[in-house]
Amino acid sequence: MPSDGIPRIGMPRNGISEKVMPAGGIAKPRLTREQIAQRAALELPDGAYVNLGWGIPNLIAGHLPKGITVYFHSENGILGMGPRAKPGEEDFDLVDAMKVPVTLIPGASFFHQADAHVMTRGGHLDVAVLGGFQVSEKGDLANWRIPGAKGPGGIGGAMDIAAGAKTLIVCMEHSTKDGAPKIVKRCTYPLTALECVDTIVTDLAVIDVKPEGLLLREVAPCWSAEEVQALTGAPLIVRRQIPEMSFA
């Protein structure tokens, strides 16, 4: 047992560029992007003010549990976004942060971009959900540029959102397309913010970032804690029998 007294399961032979594959190389089913979004949607409390970032987070709005009202914030100055506009009903003065035409729900409001970021940076959003390229065991997030990619990248609102949200959830695949872990001891990609992530929802697991380390909360159906650990670049704390991910 490590000297801090917290039980950990066996550490992988770590290394970010090393491809870590499931034992025997057998491809087990992983969650789809929609399923990741569906699981993350359960983290949103009724009545919460929530910002959804690009990628998987943007799919969450379509998976809200029945009976839950969430006020979606967009950093271009909207609170209370509804679903995407239907074809033929788009209004290009009413777009979300991805510049996709959306609708409003009752109680919506408009404001300018500086006030929109008073909300992000000032700690007024209950939950923000961002995509991620890497998350470190301390909760550092890298999500705006892949080294070596063409062009300068783009920060957008991610740094303000990451710095300020009361609760920050990252939705991403557990591994890169090359099989490298995206949850790592230290981020090697350009950082978005330090020690900002509270929870990671991937196609394999739900993991909470705690002061003592990464706490494995749930695993995807058919996956064991050990198998998830083998694909994770930082040690996971396993306090008890890990339940399967719930979707409702």
């Binding site: 300018h112 783009g154 957008g156």
Partner: protein, 203 residues
Amino acid sequence: MVGGFGGAGFPNNLIQALARKGAKNITAVSNNCGTRDGELGIMFKNNQIKHVIAAFPGPHANHFLERFAAKEVTLELVPQGILCERMRAAAAGLQGFYTTVGVGTEVAAGKEERVLEERRCILERPIHADYALIKAQTADELGNLTYRLAARNFNPIMAMAAQTTIAEVEEIVPIGAIHPEHVVTPAIFVHRIVQAKGIRYAE
């Protein structure tokens, strides 16, 4: 400074006019760097911009990306909310502010760092501009402005921050026709009004 978030609230008519006029060596401040030939795209196509301060150049900013790759334009990438605050600081006569945003990232490079409120933060400086080109929905003849839906975005902040603000609007109404409680940008921040039918480019 050029308003708009993508195409929403972007003053396309003013930028088309600036493209025809051909002014060069412009330092531009705008969230995005254009959508193909739309929005700021034409300015990069014409090589009129030498430096741009932006939060999200954008995946469809092909003319910018070509100029950037050819080192014909330089870029300062700024977190979006900090971009707003730096312009607002210029508007509000503040000389700088401290923020936790960007601490430990590339954005912090070369910036003063210190601990305030028990948090690591960096010093950010105002962004001033000679001109703001903005888009509003309705102006009264004095220059009071309102915006339509989420086309508001950066426009009210830039209107406050520049020495001279030029507003492209869809309609001009008589003085007093906008309810004083509904004015979003008071006329003190608006120096020229141009009425024009809004132009849209596909994203």
